[in-house]
């Protein structure tokens, strides 16, 4: 029972960081939604704020780590080109070249043309949006509950960050199933 280096990085990128991102999102969303003076006492808000900070900054840092490892470590393995003379229509010789393996068959080509093309780009929006959210939480701290306008904006951006990461994660799982980086 062992991992290759490529499998290990694919697991770190997709499974470990992806799971942590989901956890941070769930905790952060619950914290942000309930950060309302109608629901909580001032003591409760003060007690919850550090966790909210950890959750939102955790999500932002994880988002950055995920796109950096994905783009600069795992993605080059995905897009590596086979040696010249390789039959690009023969899936049996393309196992080490996931992009070309997907493109070799009409039944899998859309995983690259649609799935990977969208995933590799939209994923980079997640850290921008998550960082904006984390900064807003840091900036207002315990006073965030007093700023309904900012809290609403934070909730919208937090959800968009999750949507961007969700698209990337979902297609990443499907593409890995169809043509693993190994």
């Amino acid at each position: 029972m062992e991992f290759t280096e490529r499998e290990l990085w694919a697991v770190i990128h997709g499974l470990v960081l992806g799971t942590l991102f989901l956890l941070a999102f769930a905790g952060g969303l619950a914290g942000l939604y309930s950060l309302n003076a109608r629901f909580m006492t001032p003591e409760g808000i003060a007690e919850r704020t550090p966790r909210l900070l950890i959750g939102t900054w955790g999500m932002a840092i994880i988002a950055w780590l995920t796109v950096i490892t994905g783009t600069f470590i795992v993605y080059p393995w995905y897009r590596a080109a086979p040696p010249e003379g390789t039959d690009l229509a023969d899936p049996s010789v393309l196992g080490d070249f996931p992009r070309y393996l997907l493109l070799a068959s009409d039944s899998t080509a859309e995983w690259h043309r649609f799935g990977m093309e969208w995933k590799e780009h939209v994923a980079w929006m997640a850290p921008f949006l998550a960082t904006a959210v984390a900064f807003a939480v840091l900036y207002y701290g315990v006073n965030l509950y007093r700023r309904g306008d900012v809290r609403r904006a934070v909730l919208v951006f937090f959800t968009l960050a999750f949507a961007a990461a969700g698209v990337a994660g979902l297609f990443g799982a499907f593409i890995t199933k169809a043509a693993p980086v190994a």
Binding site: V67, T71, F72, Y75, P76, W77, R79, A80, R113, F114, E117, W118, E120, H121, V122, W124, M125, F128, L129, T131, A132, F135, A136, Y139, Y140, N143, R146, R147, G148, D149, V150, R152, A153, V156, F157, L160, A164
Partner: protein, 121 residues
């Protein structure tokens, strides 16, 4: 009038709009990469600048989007610090930028735009 008994909201509006700018710049380079071979070559920061290896044009798109986010955040932060702004208006503007970025990275949309430039096909 917004709640003003707390710190002014300008810096928060700044970071939201900056995230939108970063997203839109990323989306624009996704399209430009497909339209122009020169831009495609320029975006290969791995080959041109040694940033990563084997990443291709995604290296440039990602780093330019990130640069746009960080630089616009700095500029907008300096411009909006200490100011109270209408968060609804700024949020709407930021959302337009983000949704523009989302749209330009969506393959059916960026492929449609690319098809408007026959020389790129």
């Amino acid at each position: 009038m917004q709640e003003t008994q707390t710190k002014p909201n300008g810096p928060v509006a700044a970071v939201f709009v900056a995230a939108g700018i970063g997203s839109l710049v990323l989306g624009l380079f996704v399209v430009l990469n497909e339209v122009s071979p020169d831009i495609n070559n320029f975006l290969k920061f791995d080959a041109n600048w040694g940033i990563g290896k084997g990443v291709g044009p995604l290296s440039g798109k990602a780093l330019l989007g990130t640069g746009a986010f960080l630089l616009s955040w700095l500029g907008l932060h300096l411009g909006l610090r200490g100011k109270e702004v209408n968060m609804t208006t700024w949020l709407a503007f930021a959302l337009l930028l983000v949704l523009g970025g989302f749209a330009l990275t969506f393959p059916p949309i960026f492929e449609y735009i690319v098809h408007l430039f026959p020389a790129a096909e």
